[in-house]
């Protein structure tokens, strides 16, 4: 009887052990008997140093991303503040990048993005600010589970959500936080470490 109790306790404790692997978020599909996970489409953008970068450029890294615009008078500054906390937590870890896509490419030229980044006093080889075609960016945002569109009624002329998204090397979404809610940032920072721990 004692042995049964002991075995029961061990099984119970094992089942309570926290899952160390992050889930892959989004819908899945079956193709030739294989599970295809949701992933971000291919993209090509102009970085703040006017160099063209693509999703392939980020393949060696995991990255944190958000969609914003520099003249945003509503949620962007708060979201960027949370991005800065993530930056501070991983600024010395070469396996992590930060990527901010502008949803206002007309005004946010690479030059302007460069000034914006310089004013944040961040390492610009670590935190990329990207400018690309507007409508494509809105479609791309949806791959990251972010809503972004032009709306004359919204502050600054654009409406968008403030999520901060964690993406793995395969372009799969692994976690996110609400950039407007600082209380969700520590979990994202912890999730980044979990994803790093998954690496071989």
């Amino acid at each position: 009887m004692k042995y049964f109790t002991l075995i029961g306790l061990i099984i119970f404790l094992a089942s309570c052990k926290e899952d160390k692997t992050l889930p892959i978020l989004g819908n899945t599909a079956q193709e030739d008997g294989k599970t295809i996970y949701h992933h971000v489409r291919d993209w090509s953008y102009l970085r703040q140093d006017s160099v063209v970068v693509t999703n392939d450029s980020l393949k060696p890294y995991i990255y944190i991303t958000d969609f914003f615009f520099t003249s945003c008078p509503s949620i962007c500054p708060k979201v960027t503040k949370e991005m800065l906390k993530v930056y501070d937590a991983y600024k010395n870890d070469d396996r992590v990048k930060l990527v901010s896509f502008t949803i206002d490419p007309k005004r946010d030229t690479p030059e302007k993005l460069k000034t914006y980044a310089a004013n944040l006093q961040v390492d610009q080889s670590k935190w990329w600010f990207l400018q690309g075609e507007k409508d494509f960016t809105y479609e791309l945002a949806s791959d990251y589970f972010i809503v972004a569109f032009e709306d004359a009624e919204s502050p600054g002329g654009f409406d968008h959500s403030g999520k901060i998204i964690l993406v793995d090397q395969k372009g799969q979404i692994r976690s996110f936080s609400e950039g407007t809610d600082p209380e969700t940032t520590p979990k994202l920072i912890a999730d980044i470490q979990k994803l790093l721990d998954e690496q071989p």
């Binding site: 520099t70 500054p77 708060k78 006093q121």
Partner: protein
């Protein structure tokens, strides 16, 4: 009886102190609705893009602070953002905001409505 009176008096004083309204509550509300999304709840701003309001030099020049709020700022040196104008604020809202800013982030000097109206009338286009 005398003890009971004293007790009532103490309760009255405690009650009166407890009910005293926060003189900066209205200014705090204007700040929360108009300013905090950029300057942050704690006034810390965002690096060099959005200036911190803590001990900002503008508190040394209240006319300039008033005009910055009412008229906004453009072409700030070495900044990629410009501050929008908040010309929809009434003089009372503006006075509440300025007193809140001064109390929360500045030297805690307080200004009367007339002072703020005068600062505002001095703003040029």
């Amino acid at each position: 009886m005398s003890n009971l009176r004293s007790l009532f008096f103490i309760i009255f004083i405690v009650f009166a102190i407890g009910c005293e309204p926060n003189p900066f509550a209205k200014g705090a509300l204007v700040y929360k609705n108009m300013c905090a999304s950029c300057h942050m709840d704690d006034g810390s701003g965002l690096g060099g893009n959005i200036p911190s309001l803590n001990n900002n030099l503008l508190y040394k020049d209240m006319e300039l602070l008033t005009c910055t709020i009412v008229k906004g700022r453009v072409n700030l040196e070495n900044r990629s953002l410009a501050m929008p104008a908040f010309d929809q604020l009434t003089d009372i809202e503006l006075a509440n905001l300025i007193n809140f800013l001064s109390h929360q982030f500045g030297d805690d000097k307080q200004y009367l409505l007339n002072d703020v109206s005068k600062f505002k009338s001095g703003c040029t286009e």
